[in-house]
Symmetry: C2
Subunit: 206 residues, 2 copies
């Protein structure tokens, strides 16, 4: 029972830290605000985390785990690399839109200055590049396009969608992402391959 | 003479403030560092700027003026909307890569928390949307694409390129941007219109 309460307190602190980092920025976030938002004492916070950097590292690690798990879960057996790509992008956008911890941790990981763990944007770029290299090998890409150029465009656009969502969350909505893929997929795939793809993960129509 | 020196001092302070904001972030930037980087006394800084917010507002306004001027200068008479779009993107990337004041001011303008002037990303999105709406009216867009969807993809990708350049400046290089347009332009234009376009502003080959 005591341990369950400790886990709940820690989870509440991670969430309130994420909210505080998102609204104030890392530098101006105060431990006092983090503990009071979580409804616990300063002592309870210090029992779990020695300092602000430790809280931020935990928010980052939690976000990285959530985002990797979501991208993984979206990739179903039998999907081709382009299907994996669109499915993972929708899953990541969903997590970033719904989960303040994923969002705050992702933002921390984008800031060279406060990053403690992996650079999640670089990880996404590397993963996108692998999917497109594999799509090229499998003959899914249109004749005139090169895997590397598509990876650059897709990484840039998805990174930009996340950045623009900072001022307008609608950029990460399923509808916006579906329209984006609906425009982009026909540019990069062979017409034959296009019929196997869908811009929206919930329907079968491209 | 005295006035010339005042102008030079003010310019040096704007530049050193931009460098300091870029390396420390707005919150951790100290006025003492800004004045000593510029090689002037704290008193000289205070003669020009009452506080940090005033320095930041000037960096932002200077960047906005530089970027608007660069985008404007890139648009030559007789260009169609898609030519204006690629030309302006190259001009903006060039300024952001070369000029720390443009970069720092652009970043301040992206942060709701510290922004004092225009939201330059929103301004870019509106401008891109206007060019594409005009391209649609002029019959330059490919049959299957809609101006709104292209505007979303182009705004997202160019915003992402700028964001990714934060950790790797190569994203804003002319070569990278040329490859990006070289991939994207054939997706959005009619084949006839494509022959009038070039991905690289310095050559006539698309």
């Amino acid at each position: 029972m005591k341990q369950q309460r400790a886990v709940r307190t820690r989870d509440a602190l991670i969430r309130s830290a994420a909210e505080t980092f998102e609204s104030r920025g890392y530098v101006q976030a105060k431990l006092a605000e983090i503990s009071s938002r979580a409804g616990v004492s300063a002592g309870a916070l210090h029992f779990h985390f020695p300092n602000k950097a430790a809280v931020a590292a935990t928010v980052e690690a939690t976000a990285a785990a959530t985002l990797r798990r979501a991208a993984q879960a979206a990739q179903l057996p039998g999907m081709n690399p382009l299907q994996r790509l669109t499915a993972a992008s929708h899953a990541l956008a969903g997590e970033l839109q719904a989960d303040v911890v994923a969002r705050a941790g992702f933002h921390l990981s984008c800031q060279t200055r406060h990053r403690t763990g992996a650079d999640l944007r670089a990880e996404w770029h590397a993963w996108v590049s692998r999917q497109l290299a594999e799509a090229e090998t499998q003959g899914l890409l249109a004749e005139r396009v090169r895997a590397h150029d598509v990876a650059v465009a897709v990484t840039a656009a998805t990174t930009g969608i996340e950045a623009l969502a900072g001022t307008d969350p609608q950029w990460l909505s399923p509808a916006a992402l579906t329209r984006f893929w609906h425009f982009l997929l026909p540019c990069l795939t062979r017409p034959e391959a296009l019929t196997t793809l869908h811009s929206d993960p919930h329907t079968r129509t491209a």
